[in-house]
């Protein structure tokens, strides 16, 4: 590359001792138990069935048998990590603002929010303290000047190519950017999605149903409605297939 003439040369030690540690710290190891994995993936079953419902490869009998089976399992909570819910849980959570005991729960939610923030602050402090002003990596594609404040936070050099990324910016990129990757790898509702902690206010999260099995129970119930909708649009790909084939060979008037 010709442009390398005016390029920076980064000590490979920076890669080994700064770039990798920051990335590593930002990616929490995820180990799910089998039941948790099953719960997380149960929705995919019905999504797969629904995806092809309008032109389903399955004849009516088999389609309904799978659809009914899934609907029943969702209704009964078979796929929940901790097994089907007990009968004595209330159908709808009471309004937290009218119930004094629920206020405690809300405060607890805010407390966990704060607790979740602490490790992030510690990591950011660690990076800022040890690696302030480090240039870590060069992006393989050119960018406009507009990205400078995003990629070179903590380094005040007006002339440096925007492609160079500073340590603090690398932290932020990981913090927000890896979530998409997690979602891709671990499915929609995984625990590693830290952007939820940042973007939502404490009140919003407590209102949007407490995390955990109940959350999935709700999702499953909603998925049941989707399944019923899919039953409505269902048609078998085998309907009229003989006419389609005959027409291709010009055997139909």
């Amino acid at each position: 590359m010709a442009s390398n003439a005016v390029s920076l040369y980064l000590d490979p030690q920076i890669r080994d001792w700064v770039l990798f540690p920051i990335t590593l710290v930002m990616s929490p190891p995820q180990k799910l138990s089998r039941n948790a994995l099953r719960e997380q993936r149960a929705l995919a079953r019905s999504q797969i069935l629904r995806a092809s419902a309008a032109r389903s490869p399955l004849p009516p009998q088999l389609f309904t048998s799978i659809s009914d089976e899934l609907g029943e399992a969702f209704a009964a909570g078979t796929y929940l990590k901790d097994g089907p819910p007990k009968g004595d849980t209330p159908a709808r959570p009471p309004n937290p603002l009218t119930d004094p005991s629920a206020m405690d729960g809300m405060m607890a939610g805010m407390k966990t929010q704060m607790v979740m923030m602490v490790p992030q602050m510690v990591i950011m402090g660690w990076i800022n303290f040890f690696f302030q002003g480090f240039v870590l990596i060069k992006l393989p594609f050119p960018l406009t000047l507009g990205f400078k404040s995003m990629l070179q936070r903590g380094i005040e050099t007006p002339d440096m190519d925007v492609r160079w990324v500073s340590s603090l910016s690398w932290y932020f990129l990981n913090f927000f950017g890896l979530n998409g990757l997690y979602r891709l790898l671990l499915g929609g509702d995984n625990a590693a999605d830290s952007s939820k902690d940042m973007s939502a206010t404490p009140f919003a999260t407590t209102n949007a149903a407490p995390a955990g099995p109940q959350d999935y129970n709700k999702l499953f119930k909603a998925e049941r409605d989707n399944l019923e909708f899919a039953n409505g649009v269902y048609s078998w790909i085998g309907d009229g297939v003989e006419d389609r084939v005959l027409r291709r060979y010009n055997r139909l008037p």
Binding site: K31, R41, S56, L58, G238, V245, L246
Partner: protein
Amino acid sequence: MSVSSALQKLASYRVNNNRASQEVFKRGSIILKSGTSPRGEEGWAFLEQLALAAIDLDRLDVADVCIKQLADKFPESPRVDVLTGIRMEASESPETVLEYYQTLLQADSTNAAAWKRRISVLRNTGRIEKATEDLIQYLDTFYSDPEAWLELADIYITNRQYTSGLQALSHALILNPQNPFTFVQFAETAYTAGDLPLSLKMYLVAVDMIERDIDSPDSRPPSSLAFRAWWGVKLCSRHLVDSASASSPSNTAVPKNLKAVDELATERVLSAYKGEKLAEQRKLVEKWISLN
């Protein structure tokens, strides 16, 4: 044969999921002996590939060399653990291997590869019931694994449980609705189960799918899988033309223009038997068709 061209060939085998153990072993062991095994990611993938090929050819000494290098590099890797298990399957007793996989699964109950290997060992040693049970449990966790659904269908079908086989196949179908091979397999199973109307429909779906992008399909003989599907159509329609009241456990209706389908199928099947070489076969097929 230069090392780099051999490496290229092996990489293409990996990309296309081509097992070709003989070839892989021949080229791979040259590279291994020359000591120029590639560095980096490709090198490790190469070692894994060579190890599997060596196990296939019962050259366990070579496999051990490869696995040793991999295990030194990735001591905790589940992938290497499973590779070690496959190597053990080649020489150890099934009990030892099953125990080994059990310990892997205890360490991480979501190790899908180890789970699948254990199911395969169970099936190969004749413990069909346990294998089926395990496989169903596996699929309950990892639903979207069409390979495993096909394996389950295969177990059912070889045990003549066709209804269950069709159910397993239907999951493979919705996971892979674009794959005509699964449709043909479904149709064949329905045929064996005696559900001819359903079988006919599924064969036709497969034909429709394969020939969708061909401009004028009647101008050329059917391609390999289409040929098989057309044969299936012919087999079904021949029976159905004979007996109008065909039983169908799935309540599938017999097509109205069955006659036209039957005629077209006859033509398509015969169009594949062209030329001197196939004259003999063509005569046989024609005779079989005229027996109607």
